[in-house]
């Protein structure tokens, strides 16, 4: 099907989102919560665009481009004054919530913003409610965290803010968090995340900690690979493989 984004004719497949088509055609739309591998949730609203059903249509509707599936003949404008104003408001609100988040600061440098020098969040929170951590946890198959409470009290946490068997301490939520909000403490013996302590698995070769015991059980339990895949760290596996290759070749 055909659609027009900022005057540029674009070809798209059914089921694609405006954001996907725009990015493929090198049309820049700012995003915070979007991730190529995770299903869109429309949480940050930075990717809003104006759409009209066809070229002659006068009425424009503002939609989140990461969620809006393309339609044939759609006319998209990514930077009308209204779209810019809406994005600016979203960004100002995010800046008020967590001014110290580097992603927010970078976007304010790029897109401008109000002149207010916001005080850091009282609770030290850098969470921008993008749900990347929640969706990544779901993709891994653990579903250990979700949004709790409503309004200004809303935050991401495990059920009842308590230790949960669903969490394997893999740390993906912290690694994918764009603002570094999720705290991880690591020692050779344990990793602490979401106020829960996880024992580290030691490499059977060199003894170095290389993942949590729970992550190892999770990966082995997937049944995709033999459980004995997950006994050695990557460095030891490479060293052992080199020795095996030499033996095979002589």
């Amino acid at each position: 099907m055909q659609l027009v984004i900022d005057g540029i004719p674009c070809t798209a497949e059914s089921g694609e989102t405006i954001l996907q088509v725009a990015r493929r055609n090198r049309i820049d739309i700012p995003t915070l919560c979007h991730h190529d591998a995770l299903e869109g949730v429309g949480a940050c609203r930075l990717c809003v665009v104006a759409v009209r059903a066809h070229a002659e249509a006068v009425d424009a509707q503002v939609v989140a481009s990461c969620m809006y599936a393309v339609k044939d003949g759609l006319q998209v404008d990514t930077a009308t004054p209204e779209v810019r104003r809406l994005r600016q408001t979203v960004l100002d609100l995010l800046a008020a919530r967590c001014p110290d988040a580097p992603e927010i600061q970078a976007l304010r440098e790029r897109m401008g913003g109000d002149a207010i020098d916001y005080a850091p969040a009282v609770d030290g929170s850098k969470c921008i409610m993008c749900y990347r951590c929640v969706r990544a946890c779901e993709a891994i198959g653990c579903n250990a965290i979700a949004a709790v409470n409503r309004g200004p009290q809303k935050e991401i946490a495990p059920p009842f803010f308590d230790a949960t068997q669903r969490c394997i301490g893999c740390g993906t939520c912290a690694a994918i968090c764009p603002t570094g909000h999720i705290a991880v403490t690591e020692t050779p013996q344990y990793r602490e995340i979401w106020s829960q302590r996880f024992a580290m698995a030691q490499c059977a070769g060199c003894g170095a900690p290389f993942m949590t015991e729970a992550t190892r059980e999770h990966l082995a339990g997937l049944g995709k690979l033999k459980p004995d895949y997950f006994t050695h760290c990557a460095a030891c596996r490479q060293r052992d493989a080199a020795a095996r290759f030499v033996r095979v070749g002589t």
Binding site: A136, T215, L225, R237, Q238
Partner: protein
């Protein structure tokens, strides 16, 4: 089964352990200002040098374990390549490779693996003895 795409062939008997491949890789994967982390390493079990890098397995453990399909085979080079925009940084691939060929870059939070330099592997180009060839 012969691979339909060219392969990086490691003939370790020809390796003299000069580590030119490591340097070529570090330069190919770095910038003019800073060397990158090499995706190939010379190991010395029983003192014999042997270059170790991703074998681009036809049935790759890393591809199987990746929960979001961020690793896939490049149709032309045959390399298993990472789509960094899809990666969720879970390190499953690092844990899964039976040969330990995927390492983890903490600073960029990405797995590092050989991508055959888009069909022009620098290690093979610079290997002085033909221990590494791409054909």
């Amino acid at each position: 089964m012969r691979s339909p795409t060219p392969m990086l062939i490691i003939d370790w008997r020809k390796c003299i352990g000069c580590r030119t491949c490591e340097l070529a890789c570090a330069m190919a994967k770095g910038s003019p200002e800073k060397l990158g982390r090499p995706r190939i390493a010379i190991h010395r079990p029983d003192d014999a040098p042997i270059p170790m890098t991703c074998l681009q397995c036809l049935e790759a453990a890393c591809v199987k374990i990746c929960p979001v399909g961020a690793l896939s085979r490049h149709p032309e080079t045959g390399a298993v390549v990472l789509d960094e925009n899809r990666c969720i940084h879970c390190q499953s691939c690092v844990a899964a490779c039976p040969f330990g060929h995927i390492s983890w870059a903490e600073e960029s939070r990405t797995p590092l693996k050989c991508d055959l330099c888009d069909g022009q592997p620098a290690c093979a180009k610079f290997c002085p003895t033909g221990a590494l060839t791409y054909k």
